[in-house]
């Protein structure tokens, strides 16, 4: 089985461990063995070292990468920010002078960046290494008849010149759409599919402005495709959709019930038959009805060995 370093980041292991559990459940079945990266820190998040000093950012990212290098594995992360941050750091580290300066800092903690581990997003591993066919083969329930609004997130798309894997047209992403369709569900295009959810620095700087662009995106989903579920490949988008829809509802700014939101591997884990109390257990929006619908007897395809 192919091993890959599972870089957890902050939000997933600390706030959304059900997403972490969904990684640990689905990947071994699909032929990928996630390996822990002991002592990994924050990537570091955009609002920390990258906002102060580029070499410090690169040193902290490089330290995380050295953990994977020591184990001889590539890195897979489920957080778009972590993917973006570490990929950009790696891009800066292609410059020899930068690597020398960063390695001088890493020498103080007995480490050396080599550049031998690549950075992937969970979505890339599923789409490119596992493939939609293998996903289809391992489903227990078919999601036929359900409509999904796809939310890819920003940091797997741009800037495409720093990523080891990217979409053919990052302004018209299709990977997550294809992964969702592999479950049997429909994942139609909607006009704001690639637009920003407003999480991140924008939300912490001005929550009201963030809510305005969030609502714009949400209304586009609802009015154009009326989804049963929103499925994200970004842990930040995941949190924004789960926490901000109830706010809009409470303020009377939407006239429909908050749409249940799942991280892609949660959707997949449910469709593969895993226990929702482990893989989709923590949310503000009540997801019990959609989970029951996904794992209903009428959707059973076959018993997975």
């Amino acid at each position: 089985m192919e091993k890959i370093g599972l870089y957890l980041g902050c939000n997933i292991p600390l706030k959304a461990p059900d997403v972490e559990q969904s990684f640990r459940k689905v990947f071994p079945v699909l032929g990928i063995e996630p390996v822990d990266l002991p002592g990994a820190t924050c990537c570091p998040a955009w609002g920390t070292a990258p906002s102060f000093d580029r070499d410090t950012w690169c040193a902290i990212s490089a330290r995380n990468i050295t953990i994977a290098e020591g184990l001889g594995v590539d890195i897979m992360t489920g957080c778009n920010s972590c993917f973006g941050i570490m990929s950009e750091a790696k891009h800066f580290l292609h410059d020899k002078a930068t690597t020398e300066r960063v390695n001088a800092r890493l020498a103080e903690i007995g480490r050396k960046y080599q550049g031998t581990s690549d950075i992937y997003h969970v979505m890339h591993v599923l789409h490119d290494k596992v493939g939609c066919e293998k996903i289809r083969e391992n489903l227990k329930y078919s999601l036929d008849g359900l409509t999904i609004a796809v939310q890819t997130g920003c940091h797997t798309l741009w800037p495409s010149d720093v990523y080891s894997t990217c979409e053919a047209n990052p302004f018209y992403p299709v990977m997550l759409k294809e992964l969702c369709e592999a479950t049997g569900a429909a994942a139609p295009h909607y006009s704001r599919l690639e637009s920003c959810c407003g999480m991140g620095g924008m939300r912490s700087t001005d929550a009201e402005k963030s809510l305005v662009i969030f609502r714009d995106k949400l209304m586009s989903m609802q009015e154009e495709i009326k989804p049963d579920i929103i499925v994200t490949a970004c842990s930040s988008c995941y949190m924004q959709f789960d926490m901000s829809q109830p706010i809009l509802k409470e303020r009377g700014l939407i006239d429909f019930e908050p749409i249940p939101t799942l991280y892609y591997t949660q959707l997949l884990a449910l469709a593969m038959g895993f226990d929702s109390s482990q893989v989709a257990a923590i949310s503000q929006i009540d997801r019990s009805a959609i989970i029951k619908e996904i794992q209903s007897e009428k959707r059973l395809m076959k018993e997975v060995a």
Binding site: L8, C10, N11, P13, L14, K15, P17, D18, E20, Q21, L37, P38, G39, A40, T41, C42, P44, A45, G47, T48, A49, P50, S51, F52, D53, R54, D55, T56, A59, I60, R63, G84, R105, E108, I109, R111, C154, H155, L157, W158, P159, P170, F171, S195, C196, G198, M199, G201, M202, S204, T205, D206, K209, S210, I213, S277, Q278, V279, A281, I282
Partner: protein, 167 residues
């Protein structure tokens, strides 16, 4: 506004020093602002408008503006820019100038402290939630790993961030 060449040089040098190397390529076409979620949300000084101010030599004059901290670093701007400015890097260079002058919101200090102490910018006690979903209570990260925490503290202490007196 009186345009002062000395101030322009100082602003450009500062931005380049903090990582906005390609600011001089900008022709103010506005493609970056057309795709920027922050501009769409109404932040006044991002992408084209921020670069205009900087190219006019305005630096101290805009140091208190919080727009740069609302940048999502999504890099739609960098993707679309026909001149290779990499505007996101210019926005971040300006943000670094602000940060190193301690011109940032006190709310962001929590993330710096969290990163320094636990290795996680976002930190909440995860034990109960992790147990609930059947995972070991402590994640295999720096959160409960003193040796890893010491490493991150050494890296930060020996960096320009360590000289700001935050830690």
């Amino acid at each position: 506004m009186i345009i002062d060449q000395k101030k322009i040089d100082e602003a450009i040098e500062t931005v380049i020093g903090y990582g906005g190397e390609h600011i001089r390529n900008c022709v103010q076409c506005g493609a970056c602002s057309a795709v920027c979620p922050g501009v769409k949300a109404g932040f006044p000084l991002l992408c084209r408008s921020l670069i205009r101010q900087l190219l006019n030599g305005q630096l101290e004059e805009i140091i208190e503006d919080s727009s740069s901290w609302a940048c999502q670093s999504c890099s739609r701007c960098t993707e679309i820019c026909p001149r290779g400015v990499r505007p996101q890097e210019v926005v971040f260079a300006f943000r670094r100038y602000q940060a190193n002058q301690l011109a940032f919101s006190t709310s962001s200090i929590t993330s710096q402290m969290n990163l320094f102490q636990t290795g996680h910018a976002v930190f909440v006690d995860p034990k109960e939630a992790r147990k609930k979903v059947g995972l070991p209570e402590e994640p295999p990260t720096s959160a409960y790993d003193e040796a890893a925490q010491k490493e991150i503290q050494t890296l930060i202490n020996n960096s320009p961030m360590g000289e700001l007196g935050l830690f």
